[in-house]
């Protein structure tokens, strides 16, 4: 494994349009390895669009994005799967497959991302399930788990290929405060072991409780808590 000081995410002069409407105007930021960053902003401000652009699901008009060593202005469509294997994506619409149990859900992802060795797959499966604290859930169907447990499995799925960064869009959105905090703690644990996290959230309670760097989208521009030390601007 090579260690370098290059950022995991580097965005320069990025502008994103939704149809003809400009939603992000000329924004730039970097996320270092192992960093924990919140992404906040009003509903519709462009948080999800920014995340989508970062995992190469939404094309952008201007600027450049580099994620996990992939320059998205140059990356060909065929190479995008390899980029996505280096990142973990967690968002509300990206649910588990409800027709198969947890173990099959995760094994399916492994097969889809090129895993071949059965023993290695099983080992990794129990590893990620243990990591999210659900070692005994492998034969349950998604609907037999609580909302919080399902979210843990979604996180386990994102961890399968040892991502450099997790992109999470409102990961605690549908959960009650207690469970939300548990999930949040899980993100912290993952982050502590070296995986960077970019989390879009509205949960200000948690942001206040666990302060970290904040990126805020306001009026199409990005404000960075690193540059704006006065907390009242956030």
């Amino acid at each position: 494994m090579t260690f370098s000081s290059e950022p995991v995410v580097s965005v320069k002069d990025l502008s994103i349009y939704q149809e003809d409407r400009l939603i992000l105007d000329n924004i730039s930021f970097e996320i270092s390895k192992g960093e924990f960053v919140y992404l906040i902003g009003r509903t519709g401000s462009g948080k999800s669009s920014l995340l989508k652009s970062l995992y190469a699901d939404l094309p952008f008009e201007k600027g450049s994005i580099n994620v996990a060593g992939y320059d998205l202005t140059k990356t060909k469509r065929a190479k995008i799967p390899y980029l996505r294997r280096k990142i973990g994506i967690i968002f509300q619409d990206f649910q588990l497959l409800h027709d198969r149990n947890i173990s099959d859900n995760l094994l399916f992802v492994m097969k889809a991302t090129g895993w071949k060795d059965n023993a290695a797959m099983k080992a990794r499966l129990s590893e990620v399930l243990m990591r999210v604290g659900l070692g005994a859930a492998s034969f349950k169907l998604p609907h037999q788990l609580s909302g919080g447990e399902q979210q843990r499995i979604v996180i386990a799925r994102a961890l399968i290929n040892e991502p450099l960064i997790l992109f999470a869009d409102e990961p605690t959105g549908n959960l009650d405060p207690e469970v939300a905090e548990e999930i949040f703690n899980l993100f912290k644990e993952i982050n502590n072991s070296g995986t960077a996290v970019l989390m879009a959230t509205h949960n200000y309670e948690l942001i206040n409780k666990f302060p970290n760097r904040i990126l805020k989208i306001k009026d199409r521009v990005l404000l960075d808590s690193k540059d704006n030390l006065e907390s009242n601007s956030f």
Binding site: R77, A78, D93, L97, D99, A112, N161
Partner: protein, 299 residues
């Protein structure tokens, strides 16, 4: 203790979708196209049979010597318009006696009782190659033969040629346009069926994309299934057509003389190939469509 209720849930495997509906649609379309092809083949053969039965009657001079007769027959045989089977020119010589016998047999009237002399002429019945089945060409041929020494008159069914030619042209045109429309409709039908069937799998496709599955990994199972479905549909359609053909031959025995095994086998093979091809192309297009869609478009 109550036994736990076992609910068997079918796993939605990647690339699996309503199998029966797709196979049924493809089979039906291929069957109709195949039926058209068979009707066309039999019709074509029928027209060739009609064309090759075109006979030119060459009435000869009564006092033709056997030598002159031979050289005349050889001269006509060497002409390119004479139908040849296994290298042999299809010319039949009918002597005066033979002509009288046939006349009496056909009409039932024995003219020898009234007339002392046989009024009929010896003749040659020349079968014409189907390539020359055209009014202008026939006129030329008949003129050419008429100018030969020893020929008294040349006769052929003038009106029949034009009528048959016209009818064959109209029928071929109608069948061709129907086939084209049918082929296009079939393509649309199969395309839509597969597209609809894949609709249920769009989120599965999406999930795979997001976890980093390669395009080929996602497409593979769909294309494989479509190939099998096309193959099975082709075989079922060919089988049904074969049964229908056998039934038709049993009911109308004359029809079997128009059937050429080699061509029919080609049609059946083409149906299977078309099934595979259309299945492949349609599912390729449908999967690609979902692969290119954004999440908003998927909803």
């Amino acid at each position: 203790m109550n036994k736990p209720l076992k609910i068997k849930k079918r796993k939605k495997k990647l690339g699996s979708y309503p199998y029966l509906t797709v196979v049924f649609s493809i089979t039906l379309s291929l069957f109709v196209i195949g039926l058209f092809a068979l009707v066309f083949l039999h019709g074509k053969k029928l027209s060739t049979v009609i064309r090759e039965n075109l006979e030119l009657h060459v009435y000869l001079d009564k006092n033709l010597s056997p030598d002159m007769m031979d050289s005349l027959q050889n001269a006509i045989s060497s002409k390119p318009f004479v139908l040849k089977k296994k290298g042999k020119a299809q010319i039949e010589y009918i002597s005066q006696k033979e002509a009288a016998k046939r006349f009496i047999k056909e009409t039932g009237e024995d003219f020898s009782a009234v007339l002392t002399e046989n009024p009929l002429r010896p003749s040659l019945v020349v079968k014409i190659s189907s390539k020359y089945f055209e009014e202008t060409k026939m006129k030329k041929i008949s003129g050419e033969i008429k100018s030969m020494t020893g020929v008294f008159e040349v006769d052929y069914p003038v009106n029949l040629i034009d009528t048959i030619n016209r009818n064959i042209k109209i029928i071929a045109l109608i069948m061709l346009s129907f086939s084209l429309i049918l082929l296009f409709a079939t393509y649309l039908l199969i395309n839509n069926t597969i597209k609809l069937a894949l609709y249920s799998q769009r989120f599965l496709i999406r999930s795979m994309q997001l976890v980093g599955a390669k395009r080929s990994f996602i497409q593979g199972p769909f294309l494989l299934h479509a190939t099998f479905q096309g193959f099975f549909s082709g075989i079922i359609a060919a089988g049904l057509l074969f049964l229908l053909q056998q039934y038709a031959y049993r009911e109308i025995p004359e029809l079997s003389q128009l059937g050429e095994t080699k061509n029919i086998a080609i049609v059946f093979g083409a149906l299977i190939a078309a099934g595979i091809f259309i299945g492949l192309i349609s599912s390729f297009r449908a999967v690609n469509k979902y692969l290119k869609m954004s999440l908003d478009e998927l909803y």
